[in-house]
């Protein structure tokens, strides 16, 4: 699995204290269950750590929810000290289609 992380400055989330998002470009792959998703997030966190030059101390699963009947949104937090990077992963019929991370002030 090849992960390409692209940082984008965003104005539209500033009111939430978010200045940048990281879009993850990757090939499609299967995430059948939460265990698969957690393994993926672990690998992703290593790439995020390299990209931002910050050590990820721990990963927290926040929750998941259905978006319509075909998509599932998984949410995690990647902690660097007492701050965190929010991570949103979307699957479509259990195929990964999107990962976006948000980085605060």
């Amino acid at each position: 699995m090849n992960l390409e992380l692209r940082i984008k400055e965003v104005d539209s989330l500033r009111k939430k204290g978010i200045q940048r998002v990281i879009e993850v470009k990757t090939s499609d792959f299967t995430l059948s269950n939460l265990r698969d998703v957690k393994e993926y997030v672990h690998k992703l966190s290593e790439e995020v750590s390299k990209k931002l030059g910050r050590k990820i101390d721990r990963i927290e699963f926040i929750g998941n929810e259905d978006i319509g009947t075909r998509y599932i949104l998984y949410r995690f937090r990647l902690y660097t000290g007492d701050r965190y990077i929010a991570c949103r992963i979307v699957t479509y019929f259990n195929r990964h289609i999107q990962t976006i991370l948000t980085v605060g002030d």
Partner: protein, 186 residues
């Protein structure tokens, strides 16, 4: 056309989202502006909108999270008629929408000026409730609800795409409910 778009389920009433809080609106100060790539920058008061020709129809509302509310009666001013008054310049591709709470979203121009796109002033024959966007919200029935911005204050016509609030979090550039356009491809 099927009763509901793909992936949607009916529920009996709206779920209210106020991700940036409930804005306080002073109706005497409130304006709806049309700016950007236009010959005439325009600004409308609530009273001016109420005095314009009102469009009325019944349509379902579809939230991207998967719920739909059926048979809502909407009335308001045709977005196309408002925008035509501003004389849009050639090359406009998008409408960037601003709300009083700081929320933003982006809508393809062709959808923004589609026949049923309105600046809604009433729901079910009553002025909008504060939670539903009083004094005015955009409503475009064939797009998911996050495009139908509540508490709308400005439409900026532009030739350049930029993410609004939910688009920055991965949601689709257009959001057509019949095409299941919930998330964009990265």
């Amino acid at each position: 056309m099927p009763e509901l778009p793909p992936g949607q389920r009916k529920i009996p009433d709206f779920i209210v989202y106020r991700i940036l809080g409930q804005p306080e609106i002073d109706i005497n100060q409130w304006r709806l502006e049309i700016t950007g790539k236009v010959e005439n920058r325009l600004s409308f008061t609530y009273k001016e909108l109420l005095n314009m020709r009102q469009v009325e129809y019944v349509s379902d509302f579809h939230c991207v999270t998967g719920w739909s509310v059926e048979k809502v009666r909407w009335s308001g001013v045709s977005t196309r008629e408002l925008i035509e008054l501003s004389k849009p310049l050639k090359g406009v591709k998008w409408g960037y929408i601003y709300s009083a709470d700081g929320y933003t979203t982006i809508v393809p121009y062709e959808d923004l000026i589609s026949e049923q796109s309105i600046i809604a002033l009433k729901m079910n024959d009553q002025p909008l409730e504060p939670e539903h966007g009083y004094p005015a919200r955009l409503f475009i029935p064939h797009l998911y609800g996050w495009k139908s911005a509540k508490w709308i204050v400005k439409i900026e016509l532009t030739d350049t795409y930029k993410d609004g609030y939910w688009e920055a979090l991965g949601y689709h550039q257009r959001g057509n409910v019949w095409k299941d356009e919930r998330f964009k491809k990265i």
